[in-house]
Amino acid sequence: MKKVFLIAAVSFLTIGAKAQSDKYIASMKSNIAAIDTSFKNPINLLTLANKFERIAIAEKNQWLAYYYAAFCQVNYTYMEQDKSKVDAIADKATELIDKADALMPNNSEISCIKSMIASAHMMVNPMQRYQEYGPEAQSYIDAAMQQDPSNPRPEYLKGQGIKYTPEQFGGGCAAAKPVLQSSLDKYNTFKPASDIHPNWGKERVEMLLNECK
């Protein structure tokens, strides 16, 4: 009897855990699928950021949930028209990505988000802030490349930065093209570790390259 009870209990626990993990994967998948369309409307992006954060807090040790929450928040800063609000949102993104970093240190994808956050701070007042945040954004891109040379995203961010830098400052299409092309080559062979691991940016790179034709 005791044995039966134990077996039953253990199997329920495993079922419970499996259900929990299925729920996590399913929720993450549906939320990740929603990211692409959310770029049209800032509120959708914020809604998604909040959803990821809820998952992250409930799960406690899933770095990807924090990662996507930070990803949505930092993209939200790019859509925020009121520049005076950007720093606070970017700080929120930092708070989230730091939690992801604590769970998964030295991760290339996390370094990419950190670079995006530094760029968000810089864009508030590029003239005044370039000195501080320019090198910071760059150093995270460099770190991301080092941490995972096969990751296409650091080069995507780098190439995008070069493309939007005026030509007289060493930017423009001509300078950006080789970097973006190298990123695209990596996208073509890149395999995310799972369905819910980061796998964004390819369409953007193709678009940027197209604009540079």
Binding site: R54, S84, A143, F169
Partner: protein, 752 residues
């Protein structure tokens, strides 16, 4: 077995439980709906985000007691226990807006902030160095802001009817006693410190905080930079000399050190620019400095800055009393300054800022009357000629210790208090033409305690209330100086502020020792300000009234020295000031306009009555325009300073009345000066180049407009001569290089 079945059944029941809808709406305390609030059923995936009407709705499978949380940036977080049964739940939640730095009103009456970080800054750190009329001098950029006078014959900031000595300069909280190079007759000297040392500056033209004292008019508060962003070497070559330095940032980015040395020799500048004085000792400056900065474990910072400099100059100008003779003035100066500062978070919201500083200054002045062939002449009749030959040696030591404790309360509310201790010992030896020496030492110990509170009632209403108590050995009295400022933010984000304060000051060293028991001189400030600040436009208007009482009156001692005699002087200053800065209207053009109206009179020192002082103009205006052409990597900066004429006087001693009377008076011509500078940055934005180059060409008084600062009178007042700038134009050309030592690779390796 039954037991297991029960378990299975109960699991089944749990999974088929009904879905419950939770909805509601979130508003602030005024009932305004809040958008973007995250609603979470704690430790579950369930929740929602409010829409633009503040509404939210979601369904949950959870049952029983749960905590519902609502969070959003800038508001206090909300949590409530709810019991989820079968019925839908509807909630009306009110959350309170937090008083945050971003949204809160800025207490700004009387002060201009120049910084890259501070909210409410009207100038950036870079503006201080790119304002053409400033020539890279820290204080000069502030002469394009309202409230300051265009005084060219002597250094310092003359603010709102106050003298330059009524403005004090602080570095990281510590007073800098000899901020400027020692005065030379008729010529303004520059500040000693490199503007790139400072990350932020607060220029207060009145009503400043209780943390500072001993300045009747104004406080210039300089904050030195923390850790540099990278290891870097700098080299500069210009028409006035050359200099170089290195800043080294440790691999862990927790500490840095730096040294620099500058050598200035005006030989080349004199070839470029014609000077009216005959310089027999071309000004030569040696200046070295060193620093270290350490970030402590708790996010605190230890900073040291040390400076040492020596300079000498000597020049002849025609003696005013005789067309044949000349006055030869020579000065040899040696100055040191050390400042050690430590700020630390000491837990539970307390912050300690403490600092010590020590400085020395030595001036050797030699004044001679010379003939046409530059030979010393001693003429004893009339007697005043004899006094044109003198030597003056000043040796001074200053020390300061200071601490401030801050306690952060809820929101932005802060209380702070602390203490200052100043020690000064100034010895001057005056040698007459006949070798008679008069030596005098004045020692002062000044202690101060102060307390201040920042009170944010809401994001729209804030006050800063403080008081300072001081005791100086020289005056041997206590003074109590209350300071209050209040700020209110309107719906359109513009704001109004009011400031009031009492300010006390000791007599200047040169009027000491006092003849009789003296008191502190005193000023009361009343300031009313309206300001509208957006990211690319600033508009502010300020009205002020300043009442001077107990100003020092002087008497001539038997040895011919003018000394503080009593506190019977008085005065007032009132005015209206406008400032407008705009980066929006014209693409890539940044300009600011300032205008000051000043009405002031005072009776002090040897003034015969209450009159408008020689350092005050009724109307002062400045325009600064900057445009950067990214295509050619070149910035063009133009500034125009204007002031109406200032009064000048000849005070004649009336032996019958036993006092000075106005023997002659007038007003100088209006002051006009246009300055222009070009900065060319050839390697801008080129990451491949490790050297960053800045070329600077600057021309002061481009149009060569005639400027008269004041008039000097002959001893008997029968003739006067205009005090004009030493050269009509000043042309500056320099090249500054930075060699960045790239540490990116180190940064990556350390992260792995």
């Amino acid at each position: 077995m039954k037991f297991v079945i029960t378990i299975i059944l109960s699991v089944l029941i749990i999974s088929v439980k009904g879905q419950v809808k939770i909805s509601g709406n979130i508003a602030d305390t005024k009932g305004k709906p809040i958008y973007g609030v995250s609603i979470t059923l704690k430790d579950t995936y369930d929740g929602a985000t409010t829409d633009s009407s503040g509404n939210f709705a979601f369904v949950t499978n959870e049952t029983g007691k749960h905590i519902l949380e609502a969070t959003i940036i800038g508001y206090s977080s909300f949590a409530q226990e709810i019991n989820i049964a079968k019925e839908p739940i509807n909630l009306h939640i009110k959350i309170k807006e937090l008083v945050t730095e971003l949204k809160a009103v800025v207490i700004s009456a009387g002060s201009f902030v120049a910084s890259d970080k501070n909210k409410g800054a009207v100038l950036s750190a870079l503006d201080v160095v790119t304002t053409p009329s400033a020539n890279g001098d820290v204080t000069s950029a502030f002469k394009t802001l309202p409230g300051t006078q265009q005084v060219g014959e002597s250094e310092g900031l003359f603010v709102r009817g106050g003298t330059a000595t009524e403005s004090k300069i602080y570095m990281d909280g510590n007073l800098v006693n000899n901020f400027f190079y020692s005065s030379t007759p008729g010529m303004a000297t520059r500040g000693r410190f490199n503007p790139f040392l400072f990350k932020g500056t607060i220029f207060s033209s009145g009503g400043y905080s209780a943390l500072y004292g001993q300045a009747l008019s104004s406080a210039l508060i300089l904050e030195s930079t923390d850790l540099p962003e990278r290891t870097q070497a700098d080299l500069g070559i210009s028409v006035i000399g050359l200099g170089g330095g290195i800043q080294h940032l440790a691999k862990n980015k927790k500490s840095s050190w730096g040294v620099s040395y500058n050598y200035a020799n005006l030989w080349l500048a004199f070839k470029f620019n014609k000077y009216k004085q005959d310089f027999y000792t071309i000004p030569v400056y040696h200046q070295g400095d060193a620093n270290f900065r350490i970030r402590t474990k708790n996010g605190g910072m230890i900073k040291y800055y040390g400076y040492i400099s020596s300079n000498k100059t000597g020049f002849r100008s025609p003696d005013i009393d005789s067309t044949l003779l000349k006055d030869a003035f020579a000065i040899d100066n040696f100055n040191t300054y050390q400042n050690l500062n430590w700020r630390e978070n000491i837990g539970t919201g307390w912050k300690l800022t403490t600092g010590i500083s020590y400085s020395t200054n030595k001036d050797d002045i030699n004044n001679e009357l010379q003939d046409a062939s530059n030979q010393k002449q001693v003429i004893t009749t009339p007697a005043f000629y004899a006094f044109k030959n003198f030597k003056l040696k000043n040796v001074a030591q200053y020390a300061q210790a200071r601490f401030v404790l801050d306690k952060k309360l809820n929101g932005l509310n802060v209380i702070r208090f602390g203490s200052d201790y100043f020690y000064s010992r100034e010895k001057s030896t005056y040698t007459l033409y006949n070798g008679t020496k008069y030596a005098e030492t004045v020692t002062d110990n000044l202690a101060a305690i102060f307390a201040e509170a920042d009170i944010y009632i809401t994001n729209n209403l804030a006050a800063k209330i403080g008081s300072r108590v001081e005791h100086s050995q020289v005056v041997d009295k206590w003074n109590i100086a209350p300071r209050v400022s209040v700020a209110y933010k309107f719906k359109d984000n513009s704001q109004a502020s009011f400031a009031y304060g009492l300010f006390y000051q000791n007599p200047e060293r040169k009027y000491l020792p006092a003849i009789a028991g003296i008191d502190y001189s005193r000023a009361a400030h009343y300031i009313l300000q309206y300001q509208k600040l957006t990211s690319d436009r600033t508009f502010r208007v300020e009205a002020f009234y300043k009442k001077y009482t107990n100003l020092y009156k002087t008497s001539v001692s038997p040895t011919g020295q003018e000394l503080a005699a009593n506190n019977n002087g008085y005065g007032y200053a009132q005015g209206l000031e406008l400032f407008f800065r705009d980066k929006k209207t014209f693409k890539d053009v940044d300009y600011w306009i300032s205008y000051s109206y000043l009405d002031t009179k005072r009776d002090y020192l040897n003034y015969p009555s209450s009159i408008m002082p020689t350092f005050a103009a009724n109307h002062t205006a400045a325009v600064v325009v900057k445009k950067f052409f990214t295509k050619i990597k070149t910035g063009f900066n133009l500034s125009y300073n204007f002031a109406t004429g200032r009064p000048y006087y000849y005070f004649a001693y009336d032996n019958n009345q036993n006092k000075y009377v106005i023997g002659d008076a007038g007003k100088t011509i209006n002051y006009n000066s246009m300055s222009f500078s070009v900065n060319y940055l050839p390697n801008l934005g080129n990451d491949k180049k490790k050297t960053f180059i800045v070329w600077v060409l600057g021309v002061n008084n481009v149009l060569g407009q005639k400027q008269v600062f004041n008039y000097n009178y002959t001893n008997d007042g029968s003739r006067k001569e205009a005090v004009t700038p030493p050269s009509k134009r000043f042309i500056f050309l320099g090249c500054f290089l930075s060699f960045g030592v790239d540490r990116t690779q180190d940064a990556i390796n350390n992260n792995l």
